[in-house]
Structures are given as structure tokens and as C-alpha cells.
Amino acid sequence: MSSHTITQTTYQQQLADGKLMASHCPACNASYLPPRPMCPQCFGAQMEWREMPTHGKLAAFTVVHIAPTAMIEAGYGRDNPYCSGIVELENGLKISAQITGVDVSQPELIQIGSAVQAEFLQREAGAFLAFEVIE
């Protein structure tokens, strides 16, 4: 049936190439991020890749002190907390990502609505999507 062209594996490779890609249903003219192989509106599976804008604004965030193993291995944790958040892109799609360019010691100063710009973090474990607060 499906040829499995829209997968997380491919998405991940695209992140490594510095591209944030969504899947797009030509029938509905709707894009989906994270990319999904089937359109939830028309149930069609003829999805195409489409590059996303790299600018957006911060919609929600947290500063994580008690970190999961993967982030501890990346150098974070109780003594080096980090910010994760949800970004709304210029086209309205939202995505989870690490948030950089903020003072994690003063979380009360981090502003929802701040302008952000995509960056692609290259770690030993692979490429990770992040957004930097730019204002």
C-alpha cells in the first residue's frame, strides 16, 4: 500500500540538513507539522514534503531542572537547566523544540509571544530542532 515517504527518519535527516519540513496534502491544501503520512482531514495518503518558515513566536515554555536521561547525556540537568517550549510558526503551525537565547535562571522574564528563529543543533545523538529568542 503505502510507500512510506513521510517518516520521522526522513524528517530527522532533513533537520540534519538544516531544514524544517512538514507534510502537505495537495487535496486539502493543508500542511502538517510534525509531518504525518496521512491527511487527518481527507484521509488521503498522497502527502508531499514542504519546507516550513524558520520564524515564529513562543507559545509556551518551561525551564526543566529535572531532566531526562537524553538531556543529561547532552550536558543538562539540575545544575544546568534548559528551556523547552512550543513555537507557533509564521504560518500558524506549532512545534515542540528546545528554546535558546533565554536566561534560564530568570524564567519569569521569558516572554510568551517573543519572536524566535529556528536553529538546528548538532549533537552526538543527532540533529535537534531548536528556536532562538531573537528579541
Partner: protein, 337 residues
């Protein structure tokens, strides 16, 4: 969708619970036997446990917490109920709630008249980082976890969105924790069984006894604002905003309406039930409300023919303080904000 209706009525006639806490050396099955034994004592007119026809066991992740899968038949065996059909339900934090719903559905289907519903979790054997990892498997490992989110982190993010939208502060959340710890003192099975005030006074007394500098917290809120007394887990969620790592079990006995009075003169009839699922947080239209909770509440209210105003008592999910705030709004007890 038309109004949903069960083919026949279902009643709750027994309930038991283990003590909740961190119990090294005890396995899930030990806690479930404790809950089952207590449940048997709560059935006014008694029951021959051999009459129980099936088990529905809610459990989130015995796989990762205890490296034990195929969990339901072990619970059946350990409560003497093998070879009854034993089904495990996994729906993250809602596992046991959904198990209750499946028990109701199973009786309504006509297949069984007497069903045992269990809820079990044994979390405390793992170190904190691995518990954090395990809880995170309830989110999307492909698209959410790479962002660094933890389970407290998701609710914390809903918390910042809520603060932004409604002007709430971290202190707003602290008051929920203070209230819930007060409630906990009324339940002898609660993990802490102490008010925040008592925990705070205990720390002051300990500092005095040991000759350490005595903290000058004016009240509980100042205590909860102190990074050392109440460390940040995922800002704005601090330690006392988060439900603890707990071991515990619960057991309920459901029977068909027709036979309910054989077990008690005061059965609790199930008049409504609802269930819905939701998507990853970033895919939700609003971040300050949980659509699945709204829909499930609505389904249950419609089935029961009641409105939120008719409800006199509710146990809402309060894994985090912000979760309770949002749940009580989604269930219609309070307006958003």
C-alpha cells in the same frame, strides 16, 4: 453523534485501596492483593470471590517500572482468580480510569455480571532520571521528547500559557498544593498525610534542633517560594506542584444492575462515563485547556442527564497543580481562568 446509552445498568458494590507511598521490597502484586483484600471487606453482604468473572487492570508502565509485562494475568493469579480473563488497559495517567470504563462496558455488553477493576502502579524502584524517562514515554517520543520535554515539563508549559493568558502566577499554583496537602491529611492512606504548614514547621524545628540557621518563612507561600525547600522541577512547577513518585493499588467491584442488591442495599449506580483522546501538546488549538477532558466530561454528563452544577463532589486528575486547575475548568466547575 447521538446520545450514548449502555445496554444495561452497572453498579459499584465494593472498593479497596492499598496504602500509597514508596515501598521498597514490595511488588505490584503485593499492593494489589492488599487492595483486593480490603475491597472484599467492603461488600456489605459479602461475596464469594470465585464468582468474579473477569478482571480489567489499569496500569501505565509496569514494563519500564518493574520490567514486567503481561501484567493482568499475574494480578488474576495472585488474587486467586486465574483462569478468569484478565485484560490490562494502558492509557497513561488515565489507565485505571479507562479500565473502570472497560469494566462498565463489559458488564453492559451482557458478557459478565461481576467484574473486578484494578489500578496498579509501582514506580519507586527506579532512580528519578529513569522515572522521568518512563513518564515521558506517555508523550510523543519522536517529536516531543527530542525538544527536551518531560512530563512535568508539558504541564509546566501549559502553566506558562495559562499565566500568560489569565495573569496567574506561580503562587496561584502553590495554593492548589496547599489545599491538596490539607486534603491528604484526611486520608490515612495518603503518601504524606501532612499539611504544607506541618512540613514547613518540621523543617524549622529540625534546623533549630541541629543548630542550623533557622529559615524565616512567614507562611506556606514563602516556604514554597524557597528554591531550597521547594526546588524547581520544570518551571513554574516545583516539587510541591508535582504528584510524588508513588506505589499503590486500588480495586473496585462492578456488578450488573439486576444483581446489585445481592451485595449491598446501597449500590452506587454508574450513571455516566466518558472517554476521549488528545493529540501532542503542540498540535492543540489551545494550550490552556484539554479537549479530551472537555469531551469526556460532556459525554458523561449527557449519558447521566446532569450538568456540572449538579455535581457535589469530584476527584479530578491532579498530577500537577496546573492540571487540577485546568481539569476543574474543563469539567465545567469553573469558567476558564
Amino acid at each position: 453523534m447521538s446520545k450514548k446509552k449502555l445496554s444495561r445498568g452497572v453498579a459499584l458494590v465494593g472498593a479497596g485501596m492499598s496504602k500509597f507511598g514508596a515501598f521498597p521490597g514490595l511488588a505490584t502484586r503485593d499492593l494489589f492483593v492488599e487492595a483486593f483484600q480490603e475491597m472484599l471487606t467492603t461488600i456489605d453482604k459479602g461475596i464469594d470471590p470465585k464468582d468474579i468473572e473477569a478482571l480489567y487492570i489499569g496500569n501505565y508502565s509496569s514494563d519500564l517500572f518493574e520490567h514486567q509485562g503481561h501484567t493482568a494475568p499475574i494480578m488474576a493469579d495472585w488474587t486467586g482468580l486465574a483462569p478468569r480473563p484478565a485484560t490490562r488497559i494502558e492509557d497513561a495517567c488515565a489507565s485505571s480510569g479507562v479500565a473502570l470504563r472497560q469494566g462498565i462496558i463489559a458488564i453492559a455488553s451482557g458478557l459478565y455480571d461481576i467484574v473486578l477493576v484494578g489500578g496498579i502502579e509501582k514506580m519507586s524502584d527506579l532512580p528519578t532520571a529513569e522515572v522521568t524517562d518512563t513518564l515521558a514515554t506517555a508523550s510523543d517520543m519522536l517529536y516531543e521528547i527530542p525538544a527536551g520535554f518531560t512530563f512535568p515539563g508539558f504541564y509546566a508549559a501549559m502553566g506558562t500559557a495559562y499565566m500568560h493568558q489569565y495573569g496567574a502566577t506561580p503562587e496561584s499554583f502553590m495554593h492548589v498544593g496547599i489545599k491538596n496537602h490539607n486534603n491528604g491529611t484526611l486520608n490515612e492512606k495518603a503518601q504524606f498525610g501532612a499539611t504544607i504548614r506541618k512540613i514547613m514547621d518540621g523543617k524549622i524545628a529540625k534546623a533549630e534542633a541541629k543548630g542550623y540557621p533557622v529559615p524565616d518563612w512567614a507562611d506556606e507561600v514563602e516556604f514554597l517560594q524557597d528554591n531550597r525547600a521547594n526546588p524547581i522541577i520544570a518551571w513554574p512547577m516545583r516539587l510541591f506542584d508535582c504528584s510524588p513518585i508513588s506505589d499503590g493499588a486500588a480495586a473496585l467491584l462492578l456488578v450488573s444492575e439486576e444483581i446489585a442488591t445481592q451485595f449491598t442495599d446501597t449500590p452506587l449506580y454508574i450513571i455516566g462515563s466518558g472517554q476521549a483522546s488528545d493529540v501532542a501538546l503542540h498540535d492543540r488549538e489551545v494550550l490552556t485547556s484539554i479537549k479530551a477532558a472537555r469531551l469526556a466530561g460532556q459525554e458523561a454528563y449527557e449519558m447521566a442527564g446532569v450538568t456540572p452544577a449538579d455535581i457535589q463532589g469530584a476527584e479530578a486528575h491532579d498530577c500537577f497543580t496546573i492540571a487540577e486547575i485546568i481539569a476543574t475548568e474543563d469539567l465545567g466547575f469553573f469558567a476558564p481562568g
